[in-house]
Amino acid sequence: MRRLSSLCAMSQEKNDSPASPPDWSGLAAKPAFQALLKRKSRFIVAASVFFIVYYFALPVLVGWFPDLMKKEIVGKVNIAYLFALSQFFMAWAVAFVYVKKAAQWDKAAEAVLEK
């Protein structure tokens, strides 16, 4: 971590004197960086598609299948309320998985900059 921040500090100084900026395209072309990008975008696309489908299922089901949603399943509590409530836990769960994954990506990004 310290090496990363000192590296960043160095590049910061270099940015101020445009003579020797970091080798951006060299870094971008590294196989390790390309692999990181691929892993990252695969997860972000999958997670985004999942949460968007899950979220919009609520207004679709409530709007066009109200009778199904009115079914009471836990005491007086119906599917409509439970599904709406589940959205909060879905959002927290996706955020939790993302943070776990992002910690791995942080390490991979550090490795790309170190070499």
């Binding site: 990252k40 066009w64 007086k76 509590v77 927290w92 943070v99 790309v112």
Partner: protein
């Protein structure tokens, strides 16, 4: 009622104290615009929550649930889910590639002047719409809560406007942040306490609570007859039967504006520049999600509590559901506390809007568009931001007082629609699409902004024919049959924004921007070269 004023004055005194403390530490642009990038993860999480949860959420959603039951609660859901877009797509690349504003990310590889000019226009438009809505809300609140104290609507609007300008001009981002943190703590305290009081009313039994919700007997004011309804069943507000069939589609359109608009709200985006790095930005979104999610789940107790305990026919206005519930369950002092919380809520949001609008004007428009990125003298950028905070404040006070009697409930929806249709497409394409060009960005921002505004004007929010006896605050601004059937334009304006940005980029290629894509990608995903915290 006077205890409400005392509690509010206590909040004002505390926040002014913070402003004086922050003013002493405000040295330089980094400190003024980004709080020296020294805010920690949990602090920024609370501040994001405080910046985001407006009086419309606290009072408006409680009222919607109290009157329309389940449909009001369904409205609550999107406000949290929206943060997944912020977390997964926007927060970290923005922090890594930018300095003070959303436009920094766009200008990184596109031609800075046209892009910044358009982004600044869109930022100031979103912030002004949102701010005017908040300030009129403050005026209405005073009329309802402090009717017998002699504070007039105008006094409330001017008071809120002056305070927000003082926080921003003297305390900069640091003072704004702490005002938002305190507000978030107050709002959560009030909400949790009120929820516990509701549960206590039902002997801490969820079964009894839901029994009452599902068999709610009250007087329907329209027919003046007693009815028993299941308030947990969907359809009372957005159902096809009560909305000429357009309700479900309108709800989806609103959901789109929330889920894509939150990640394009300038006052939320600037918060991620106040933390030391992208990792902390990520942590702060998670903190914000915990607080925001907890709050919106608790609207179950606030809204259904008001419906079951007060009964809808005893609530004069939807915005009064939560304060009246506090009065019924906790007495005068708790009512005063909840009223003060509502004011603190408004103040924290408008301060955030003021600083994001004035930062964008100073940094994007003045420094980078007019002066090509080279301010004439050091410190000029901060001075211009302070002056624009004054102008933004004065303009909002003027507009809020002028429009206070008009029906402006559409303004918040409009702000979200513009953020989703103009800002989000260009942010996403700039990070992920190599071919994205300056022409695409300008076209995307322009079409997104314009289509949202035009569609809102043509919608039932503004157009409609009212009976003669409808009061001014409920009258449609244009007395004609609506041309566009939905209140929320997102379902059409968001695809239009994306399409315009993509078509513009395909029409006019930009080799320079494509060449810089590798640099932006490395920077966005590794943090190499990103703005560092100032040492102190």
């Amino acid at each position: 009622m006077t205890s409400a004023i005392w509690m509010f004055l206590l909040f004002v005194a505390a926040t002014l104290g913070i402003t004086i403390w922050a003013a002493k530490r405000n040295t330089g642009a980094n400190a003024f615009f980004a709080a020296g990038r020294s805010i920690t993860g949990w602090q920024n999480g609370l501040a994001v929550a405080g910046d985001y949860m407006s009086a419309a959420s606290f009072l408006g959603i409680s009222g919607m649930i109290a009157f329309y039951g389940y449909d009001g609660f369904m409205y609550s859901v999107g406000w949290l889910v929206a943060y997944l877009t912020v977390l997964l797509i926007v927060a970290e690349p923005l922090r890594n590639a930018g300095k003070y504003t959303m436009a920094d990310l766009l200008a990184y590889r596109l031609s800075p002047r046209p892009v910044r000019a358009m982004a600044s226009l869109s930022t100031i438009t979103v912030s002004t719409f949102y701010m005017v809505a908040q300030m009129i809300g403050a005026g209405t609140l005073v009329k309802l809560l402090l009717a017998d104290t002699g504070v007039s609507t105008e006094t409330a609007i001017i008071g809120v406007g002056v305070l927000m300008v003082v926080y921003v001009v003297f305390g900069g981002m640091l003072a704004t942040t702490w005002v938002q943190i305190i507000k978030a703590i107050l709002l959560m305290t009030g909400t949790i306490f009120l929820s516990v009081l509701v549960l206590r009313h039902f002997d801490y039994s969820f079964a009894k609570f839901f029994d009452a919700i599902t068999h709610l007997t009250y007087t329907d004011v329209k027919t003046n007859s007693e009815v028993t309804r299941n308030f947990l069943e969907p359809g009372m507000k957005f159902g096809a039967a009560v909305t000429n069939g357009w309700g479900p589609l309108d709800l989806i359109s609103l959901g789109l504006a929330l889920v894509f608009g939150t990640a394009g709200l300038p006052h939320i985006l600037v918060r991620f520049y106040t933390v030391p790095d992208a990792k902390t930005a990520r942590v702060s979104v998670v903190w914000a999600m915990v607080i925001i999610g907890a709050f919106y789940i608790l609207t179950t107790f606030l809204g259904f509590g008001a419906a079951t305990i007060l009964k809808p026919h005893n609530i004069p206005l939807d915005n009064m559901a939560a304060p009246q519930l506090a009065l019924a369950l906790g007495g005068d002092l708790f009512f005063a506390f909840i009223s003060a919380v509502a004011f603190a809520t408004i103040l924290a949001v408008v301060a955030g809007l003021t600083i994001s609008a004035s930062t964008s004007f100073a940094h994007d428009f003045y420094t980078n568009v007019i002066h090509h990125g080279n301010p004439k003298t050091p410190g000029e950028e901060v001075r211009v931001a302070r002056i624009s905070a004054f102008v933004v404040g004065a303009l909002s006070i003027f507009l809020a007082i002028k429009l206070q009697a008009a029906n402006v409930a559409f303004l918040v929806g409009l702000a979200f629609a513009v953020a989703a249709s103009a800002n989000l497409p260009v942010i996403v394409l700039s990070i992920f699409w190599k071919r994205f060009s300056t022409f695409g960005a300008v076209l995307g921002l322009g079409v997104g902004l314009l289509s949202s505004i035009v569609l809102i004007i043509l919608s039932p929010s503004i157009m409609g024919i009212d009976a003669v006896d409808v009061p001014a605050a409920k009258r449609h601004l244009i007395q004609m049959k609506a041309i566009f059937p939905l209140n929320n334009p997102g379902i059409l304006s968001i695809p239009l924004g994306f399409l315009a940005a993509i078509i513009g980029s395909l029409l006019k290629r930009e080799p320079d921007a494509e060449a810089k894509f590798a640099e932006l990608t490395v920077r966005a995903h590794t943090g190499l070269g990103s703005e560092k915290a100032s040492s102190h």
